[in-house]
Amino acid sequence: MRRRWIVLLKVVVWILCLSPVSWLAWKATHDLLGANPLSEITLSTGHWTLYLLLITLAISPLRKITHLNWLIRFRRLVGLFAFFYGCLHLMTYLWFDKFFDVHEIVKDIYKRPFITAGMTAWVLMFPLALTSTARSIRWLGGKRWQILHRLIYASAIAGVVHFWWLVKRDLTRPEIMAAILIGLLGFRIIDRLLAARASHPAIMRPKTSNEAEPSGVSPG
């Protein structure tokens, strides 16, 4: 794909990824967030963290299926936006729910499984965001970087569990998210197994030039 198109598409992805938070900000300043605005902000930023995490995780399988190698160049961007929404979500909790009461926050993380899961999900995303630059890959070495970035799987699982555990009764949404996540992780497992069988005896698959692009929070 032409560089021009990639740049244009990146602009589109930026706009798309920023639209939920812009929409929230617009609603907040226009009294459109309903009766419980802080709850609305918490829910919305949480949902978008998960959506973007799942989209990030969908990029590699999609690339494998479609052979559109340029897709990988959007993985870091979407992954970093997942982290961005995760930070907003965490901030609304720390600020508007706990008002930075450290004692209460620590108690909450320790006592409430869904908070523990949510914190875990964010903590696991943090090093991935930190090492999302090309320089980090060089510094860590491709292999180690890739192993580190497998943390995204754990983070996504913790995120979905967090959502599942906090829902009062209607589990439809967490169930859909869990199904998608299982599908995305299942694809990788099956893909690995097939690859292992095909490459018997072990032949190292040569790296394609597209894989040089560092990905934000996903090792693929």
């Binding site: 900000a25 300043t29 226009h30 009766a35 709850s39 902000i41 499984p113 009764r169």
Partner: protein
């Protein structure tokens, strides 16, 4: 017991609804959040509001009313947990638009001298309607102050003369999938049921409720008749009641059946007994930025705590 002072001013006129329509305190809080975001005008667009043409009710004031600022009508009628319509809190306002709350009958039976079926309009005339401004604390951690209209459930109970076998009162919501689309999903065991111990049901605070803000109940708030038990979590205050039965043992209740470890039969508001998944120590009053401390029995301890003397409230949560 009750000091009833006649008043010919409908409650809705005491505080003009239009004033409450304007969100005030949240905006100051939102300003903090919006630091860095553009603050445009605050009065530009309002969300689509569902307003029903409700009948005005004449009420007398009640000594049980709180003087705290009332939650705006808009919030009381657009932020509803009413799973018969939807599990989305913003869903019922719209989905309840065509709900038929009249004609409506309430069957009162079980251990009583004589069973009786009331037409809703007759039931409303059983005692003078009072305005009762109560705090409502949802189990989810938010609260409102609502000017209900109704009278003590004890008026009905006394009229029905329950026999000595009556130890509990069981309430049942209408079962009608055509009107309640939520009843098509298995999210709860329909119809919704609730229950109170006899002394709780007889307590003067327990309100047989027909209206709010001086008008008949909006559909999404449990029209045409509901119970309001202000010292218990909101889900105990069952809506759109079609039958009331006096029974000998603790009745099965909807949320207790759905998750017995999370929602007890008593479900008294108690900041010291956490929900298994979240704390009940604080709450967000709708319209306020900072959270406030939750009060034991939702602040009605002076009136109701004696009913639970000697009971382990952690066990009987």
């Amino acid at each position: 017991m009750l000091i009833k002072k006649a008043s010919d001013i409908p409650s809705s006129e005491i505080t003009p609804k239009s004033i409450y329509m304007n969100r005030r305190s949240f905006l100051s809080g939102a300003a903090a959040f919006a630091a860095g975001m553009t603050m445009l005008g605050c009065e530009m667009v309002k969300p689509s509001e569902v307003v029903h043409a409700n009948t005005k009710l004449t009420t007398v004031k009640s000594q049980f009313s709180t003087t705290e600022p009332e939650t705006p009508f808009k919030d009381i009628t657009n932020y509803n947990n009413f799973y018969e319509f939807s599990t989305d809190k913003y869903g019922p306002a719209d989905l309840a638009r065509n709900f038929r709350s009249r004609p409506w009958k309430v069957k009162v039976g079980g251990a009583v001298a004589q069973k009786k079926t009331y037409e809703i309009d007759d039931l409303m005339k059983l005692a003078p309607l009072e305005e009762r401004i109560y705090r409502l604390r949802c189990v989810e951690g938010w609260s409102m102050v609502i000017p209900w209209v109704g009278f003590s459930l004890s008026n009905l109970i006394n009229q029905m003369q329950p026999t000595s076998k009556a130890k509990y009162v069981k309430f049942t919501t209408l079962m009608d999938m055509t009107q309640f689309p939520g009843q098509r999903s298995q999210v709860l065991d329909w119809p919704y049921t609730e229950g109170l111990r006899m002394d709780e049901a007889m307590h003067p605070l327990t309100l047989l409720t027909f209206g709010l803000y001086g008008e008949t109940l909006p559909n999404q708030d449990g029209a045409p008749v509901r119970i309001v038990v202000p010292w218990k979590y909101g889900f105990k205050s069952i809506k759109s009641i079609v039958s009331i039965d006096f029974v000998g043992s603790e009745p099965a209740t909807a949320w207790n059946t759905a998750a017995p470890n999370e929602y007890g039969f008593y479900s008294n508001v108690n900041p010291n007994v956490d929900h298994p998944r979240w704390s009940q120590a604080t709450e967000r009053r709708i319209g306020e930025f900072f959270k406030r401390k939750t009060l034991i029995f939702n602040g009605y301890g002076d009136q109701v705590a004696s009913m639970y003397n000697g009971m382990d409230l952690k066990k009987y949560f």
